[in-house]
Amino acid sequence: MTANLKHALFCAFITLIISYPILGFDLKGRGTSVALEGVDISTSIGVLLAVVIVFVFQLYRDTIMGSVRQLPAINPLANREPMEQSKRLKLESILLTLMVIGAVIWPFIASRGAVDLATLVLIYIMLALGLNVVVGLAGLLDLGYVAFYAVGAYSFALLSQYFGISFWFALPIGAGLAALFGLVLGFPVLRLRGDYLAIVTLGFGEIIRILLNNMTSLTGGPNGIGGIPDPTLFGMEFSRLIKEEGNTSFHETFGIAYSGEHKVIFLYLIALVLAVITAVAIRRLMRMPVGRAWEALREDEIAAKSLGLSRTAVKLSAFTIGAFFAGFAGTVFASKQGFISPESFVFLESAIILAIVVLGGMGSQMGVILAAIAVTILPELAREFSEYRMLIFGAAMVLMMVWRPQGLMPMRRIHIELKRQE
């Protein structure tokens, strides 16, 4: 008890030190000088409360942790027999089909804002599924993933600005260019060990952003590029007046009244189709030899190499495919926003996508999709807490790694179960 008491006192004291100076005083800039202001009493009470909680927790640490361990698992499924594989697969595919059907119906029942948000969710799903290949399956920590997203978005914006290329042509070009960037970057850096790779990709992402910011004559610098065209449906535009020669407009062709919603819904459906393509393509790839090679390399590099896998080729394929889907997402993002600037491609964006993958469960497609939905929608629902969004993100990432590094819905590999012979 005395040892605990000493430790508890120490922890409580440390809590006080790390919270009070930063929370308890407010620096106010007044012109060129700064003044210090104490903050209101509630913050001090909060700090005190935190100190007391830490003290009590550390004092009775053993008892608390012991009783937590004895509690029946919070997850009611934990004690159940693991579901049979075929049944689980069936359930998963039914669930996925239901989700897709729901997603198709969604724009016709929801408001315009909700559809717009759903498009964003789909873009994040594409990004997260792409990053899932790199981080979750191949085990390469890529902190500069947003660079490929930027390449996709900017190639569409620039192509349409300088060459008047439409969305449908820019889509494969943008994705292809992003993949090419992935290939070119990946080739030298994939020899590096995990954490070095993370930092190099982070540096690469920053370099791309700085270049976009400073090559003002080409990219418009911090002002970004505007006037990115909307996608067309077989030459039918979704605007009230036709912008381009030779195009017809959607509402006139079908003889319906013009509505701004058509465009939003159309964009949503494009994003949906692309997201489904992404999910299906990656699902197929996972079962192909290359997908197995990714996982083999993640699990044990030396063993995989000794079995004749080319480390560079396998890693490079994962990196390139991940970049490809980021380019996809980037193109859709550019046409959704109609305007892009380097602001949208900061490191935090990479961290958010990574957080989605980590929260969902690295490697697990279902988990990643659900996490993407949750991470994008929750801050919208809890608007009054929106400033705490990133704080909670950071904390959630740490807690997830400490308690459940495999994610909310861990990946389960397809495997053969041998029947016991009686």
């Binding site: 407010d26 620096l27 700064v34 850096v189 954490d195 950071g394 790694m401 400490v402 590094p405």
Partner: protein
């Protein structure tokens, strides 16, 4: 002559920045040397050090204490205490539970911690940058009065001297003291050190505390040098310092010092002769090149991959 003076000015500026990078880089390199993880939140700890120092300085000014050495020393001590506690707490909460798991797990945990700390200060102190009072003014000037003059400000001299003192103390501490010896032993072989009765958990905590304290010193110095701080300024500085650590050979303390100086000079030469906007590109480019061609850095030992 003019060109030479200009070059000299860039060199001095570069060495000033570089020596503070070196201070931050030591935190990275010591932690990496012992537990082999990148402490991503180290830049945030440096930022918190700078904020605490500013709070202490303005607090003392409000109390009417203006004797410069006292103000600086009190600010330094406050910053070091808060940063070290933060370093200790971060290790305890976010790193110790995931130690020994797969390589990516501590790194992701560290990124989460970094985001958390950034937003913690952001929420408490606002996102706008706050001005750091210019406490040490004036300096020496060289060169003819009608042409370009090389100047060394007293601030730069303070930075040099403080860094030098810190480095010397650290070197002595690592080579002479009991904890320093234990640190070296743990970094060579953690398991063996544990068997020989070294409390490795305590030593790992100690490295975090030492690294954080040095980062706090850098926070105070760079805050005064740049003249303003904001919650995001730890991120880039942390990345630069990490580059410095890798450049010198991660895990090696003299390497971190050398790497910091080289990086600082490279940066100031870029902004002096090319354009200030590209200095970040140069330092990240340098990082990528080093990792590609000499991943062990200048003074690092090659790492043997064991099966």
């Amino acid at each position: 002559m003019q060109d030479f003076l200009y070059f000299l000015q860039q060199l001095i500026n570069g060495l000033t920045i570089g020596s503070t990078y070196a201070l931050i880089a030591i935190g990275y390199t010591m932690v990496y040397g012992i537990i082999g993880m990148i402490n991503f939140a180290h830049g945030e700890i440096y930022m918190i050090g700078a904020y605490t120092a500013l709070i202490a300085i303005t607090g003392l000014a409000a109390l009417g204490i203006a004797w410069l050495p006292l103000v600086l020393i009190v600010a330094l001590i406050c910053a070091m205490i808060v940063s070290s506690s933060m370093g200790w707490a971060v290790e305890r909460v976010a790193y110790r539970p995931v130690r020994g798991k797969h390589r990516l797990i501590p790194l992701i945990s560290a990124i989460g911690m970094s985001i958390f700390l950034q937003n913690y200060v952001h929420l408490a102190q606002g996102s706008r940058n706050v001005g750091f009072p210019d406490l040490i003014e004036g300096g020496f000037r060289f060169g003819a009065a009608d042409s370009f003059q090389t100047s060394i400000s007293y601030m730069q001299i303070t930075i040099f001297i403080t860094t030098l003192v810190c480095m010397t103390v650290l070197s002595l501490f690592i080579s002479r003291s009991r904890i320093g010896r234990a640190c070296r032993a743990v970094s060579q072989d953690l398991g063996m050190a544990n068997l020989l009765g070294i409390d490795t958990n305590r030593i790992i905590s100690a490295t975090f505390v030492i690294g954080a304290a040095l980062a706090a010193v850098a926070g105070l110095l760079l805050g005064m040098y740049y003249g303003s701080i904001d919650p995001l300024f730890g991120f880039i500085a942390g990345l630069k310092a990490f580059t410095a650590a890798v450049l010198g050979g991660i895990g090696s303390i003299p390497g971190a010092m050398l790497g910091g100086l080289i990086l600082g000079v490279a940066e100031s030469m870029t902004s002096g002769y090319l354009s200030g906007e590209y200095k970040d590109v140069v330092s990240f480019g340098l990082l990528i090149l080093i990792l590609l061609f000499k991943p062990t850095g200048l003074l690092g030992k090659p790492e043997v991959e064991k099966i």
